[in-house]
């Protein structure tokens, strides 16, 4: 896929990969074997008919490919960009056993972008069923749940605390990975399904879940507020000016447009030498954003080795190409300040890997006497998040001992009619997992409300005794 050269792209917020042209896409689609096992489909959290849409591309029927994609995934332009395909569809690709796997993600993005350019939207015929559904949080989980419930005929309202909808897709993931106009295009598609978005609404505080189910008349509510609450290291100097969470750095830059300060009012902390602690996808985003904001040096500080780093291989590769300096097996022990409260440097210790721990990764332990200092003026913590406490503070929802919302396998919570999914149930994960959870919760919600699930009976297979005729479908996909 054509990419901007690392030296050039590290200075701008344009997308790194410009995407396939038609001939690239045709060539790539040719590589798919259309194998009967379809291991890729089982690797996809939402079960997209991958060979089906690739065949569509191959036959130059992009509209047909888009129709197949939107049958299961409603946000192909987003998923094509941000899914960790190497662990999902592409990781199981038959071609990948001997050669490079088929670039399923890039093809998905190609089709998604084509749809945005052409203004395609698959709006099914929706028969209103009179149910009112409320969605708390407009991130990937909420968007996916909203789409399914709207298609089923519910009147859906999505509440968002920020002034713009999109959740982590807007405030977290930077423009060079996922441009905000792409998110807006997908949100516009949801609006075409009749979904209403209410921003500047902090559910729990402005009104509670109990009020939604009660006086506000919602028949079911989905909570997808994300994890959010950032973890600090808890080392000396943590509160120095110039120590901030990746969430803060990214929100200021991406959502509040601090990078265009002072034309936008939100100040953006800019470091000359930036140390980012952690090696997940958020850490990679923070590093690459720091480079684009003008940092001379960006360091990645991670206590395990490259093999254990949770970020996608592609992200680490991109960060490396752009000039991020990786310090594996290194752990900060103190932030050094200059005497007036500003960061001057970071004191670190070398680590070595011991026996595997609960997560199966080898547990790092400090090497005695290996402390060393280095100079930096901005320290960014990207070491994970905890559960946001607002829902727990303001409702009777049962939480688990880590503060996340307790659900059953249908993602129903302890409150009747309230479902939850995404990071607020599982802890920090990926966009596609959150979307999967949103759809799973929607299925649970439909069962709870007694709405016939249009997706299920028709795929039930040959041995269905009470098969439902296709003409009886409660919605029919039409093209606009």
């Amino acid at each position: 896929m054509p990419e901007q050269a690392p030296t050039a792209r590290a200075k701008n917020f344009e997308e790194v990969a410009s995407g396939y042209r038609l001939d690239d896409a045709l060539r790539e689609s040719e590589r798919c074997l259309l194998c009967p096992d379809q291991p890729c489909v089982s690797g996809c959290p939402v079960g997209i008919d991958i060979p089906g849409f690739i065949r569509g591309v191959n036959e130059r029927d992009l509209r047909g490919a888009y129709d197949i994609l939107t049958r299961t995934s409603l946000l192909p332009a987003i998923c094509g960009r941000v899914c960790p395909q190497e662990n999902q569809c592409e990781g199981r690709c038959t071609v990948g056993q001997t050669l490079e796997p088929v670039a399923i993600g890039r093809l998905e993005r190609f089709v998604g972008d084509a749809a945005i350019q052409q203004g395609w939207a698959n709006v099914p015929h929706i028969e209103p069923n009179g149910f009112k559904v409320g969605i708390v949080g407009s991130g990937p989980a909420g968007m996916a749940c909203a789409a399914d419930m709207a298609k089923a005929g519910c009147e859906v309202t999505v509440y968002e605390a920020f002034h713009q909808a999109g959740g982590v897709l807007k405030y977290g993931i930077p423009d060079f990975r996922l441009p905000n106009p792409v998110v807006d295009a997908e949100i516009a598609n949801l609006k075409k399904l009749g979904v209403r978005f209410e921003c500047n609404t902090l559910v729990g505080r402005l009104f509670t879940l109990e009020q939604m189910i009660g006086e506000m008349g919602f028949d079911a509510v989905f909570v997808g507020v994300g994890a959010g609450y950032p973890t600090m290291l808890g080392i000396p100097g943590d509160s120095a000016n110039g120590v901030l969470s990746a969430n803060e750095l990214l929100t200021r830059c991406n959502l509040m447009r601090g990078r265009d300060f002072p034309d936008f009012d939100t100040p953006q902390p800019i470091g000359r030498r930036v140390a980012v602690v952690g090696a997940g996808n958020t850490a990679m985003d923070a590093m690459r954003v720091s480079l684009r904001l003008g940092a001379e040096k960006v360091y990645c500080i991670y206590r395990r080795s490259r093999k254990e780093a949770p970020a996608r291989a592609e992200e680490i590769h991109h960060a490396e190409e752009e000039g991020v300096e990786f310090h594996w097996l290194t752990h900060p022990v103190a932030v050094l300040d200059d005497g007036s409260g500003n960061v001057k440097g970071l004191r670190c210790v070398r680590m070595e890997l011991g026996e595997p721990d609960g997560s199966g990764r080898r547990r790092p332990a400090p090497v005695a006497g290996s402390e060393f200092d280095f100079e930096c003026d901005l320290v960014v913590y990207a070491i994970g998040t905890n559960a946001n406490p607002i829902m727990g503070q303001t409702s009777r929802l049962r939480l688990n001992k880590r503060g996340y919302i307790d659900t059953d396998e249908r993602l129903a919570t302890s409150m009747a009619g309230v479902f939850a999914g995404g990071d607020i149930v599982t802890g920090a994960a990926t966009v596609i997992k959150a979307m999967g959870a949103g759809r799973q919760a929607a299925a649970g919600m439909k069962a709870y409300l007694g709405i016939r699930d249009g997706d299920r009976p028709y795929d039930a297979g040959e041995d269905t005794v009470f098969g439902i005729d296709a003409s009886e479908r409660n919605f029919v996909r039409i093209r606009v």
Binding site: L206, P262, F264, I390
Partner: protein, 294 residues
């Protein structure tokens, strides 16, 4: 998008002004001690402001604002009655829990007089004996004296320059009240960090529970950015979701003061940038006016 109408504007001084904004749902939900986040425009920053009052019947919330930085000065210029705010979200933070205190001193310093008012009012309605202590730099800055007098059993006003009431800071007022009453259960102090710090220092020898309301730098106000973290005892708390009320005897005010300064350079830049724009606009207006006059 913008449906947050400013229904009333009142100027207390050259720098302090009051905005009453229509938001019936928020007026219903708001409790003393909570705050909101305001965005003036699409390009604006998110400014946390403590709720100074709310009227459930009229469906409005009241904010009292001091014009200190770029956004608050721009708001002073642009937010007239009938204008709209781009964004208003809240109420945020944990409401002040209902207190069982029988005798309370409510202390407001400068702008802090506004957010301590709903707390004093709630305590009075709950049947407590309320001693109000409010302080300003000078007579010209005084506001809401009558509002306080109406709800307080005892009332002391202080001024730094002696132009009104007791000559001295609010701590002098607290000392005076404590001398008279030995059975004060609780002190609530809201104002600049330095003022809250000295209030906590004043009450510490008396071992009287002292609650303060913190207003550090925030981005989202929902517990997501961690910018508002404060040291309380040996813990790190986020003022937006764990507060904003904390035990004043355990708050590390020096840390808070230092962290409040972290964008001072950018704040100056923003102000200069904006003022330059205003001056340019003025000269354009003048030039256009002159051309039209010809």
């Amino acid at each position: 998008m913008s449906n947050y109408e400013i229904v009333k504007r009142e100027d207390f001084s050259d720098v302090t002004y009051l905005l009453e904004i229509r938001h019936p749902m928020m007026a219903r939900a708001a409790r003393p001690g909570q705050f909101v986040i305001v965005m003036l425009s699409e390009h604006g920053e998110r400014v946390p402001l403590t709720i100074a009052d709310f009227d459930r019947e009229k469906g409005t919330v009241t904010l009292v604002i001091q014009a200190v930085g770029k956004t608050t000065r721009q708001m002073q210029r642009e937010c007239q009655a009938g204008a709209f705010l781009y964004g208003l979200v809240g109420p945020m933070g944990i409401p002040t829990p209902p207190s069982h205190a029988r005798k309370v001193i409510c202390v407001g310093g400068g702008l802090g007089v506004a957010p301590v008012y709903p707390q004093a009012k709630a305590l009075k309605e709950g049947g407590a004996y309320v001693i109000g202590v409010i302080g300003f730099r000078g007579k010209d800055l005084v506001f809401w004296e009558d509002k306080f007098r109406a709800i307080c059993d005892e009332f002391i006003i202080c001024s730094d320059d002696g132009s009104v009431g007791l000559h001295g800071r609010v701590t002098a007022g607290i000392e005076a009240a404590l001398k008279k009453h030995s059975d004060v259960d609780e002190v609530i102090a809201i104002g600049p960090p330095i003022m809250m710090k000295s209030c906590a220092d004043t009450t510490r020898p008396y071992k009287i529970k002292t609650m303060v309301s913190l207003n550090p730098i925030m981005v989202d106000g929902t517990g997501m950015c961690g910018g508002c973290r404060v040291k309380v005892g040996d813990e790190v708390k986020f003022a937006c979701v764990d507060g904003p009320d904390f035990d004043g005897h355990r708050v590390d005010f020096d840390d808070l003061t230092m962290r409040l300064r972290r964008h001072s350079r950018e704040e100056r830049m923003a102000l200069e940038h904006w003022e330059k724009g205003c001056r340019m606009q003025k000269s354009i207006d003048r030039a256009v006016g002159a051309a039209a006059g010809k």
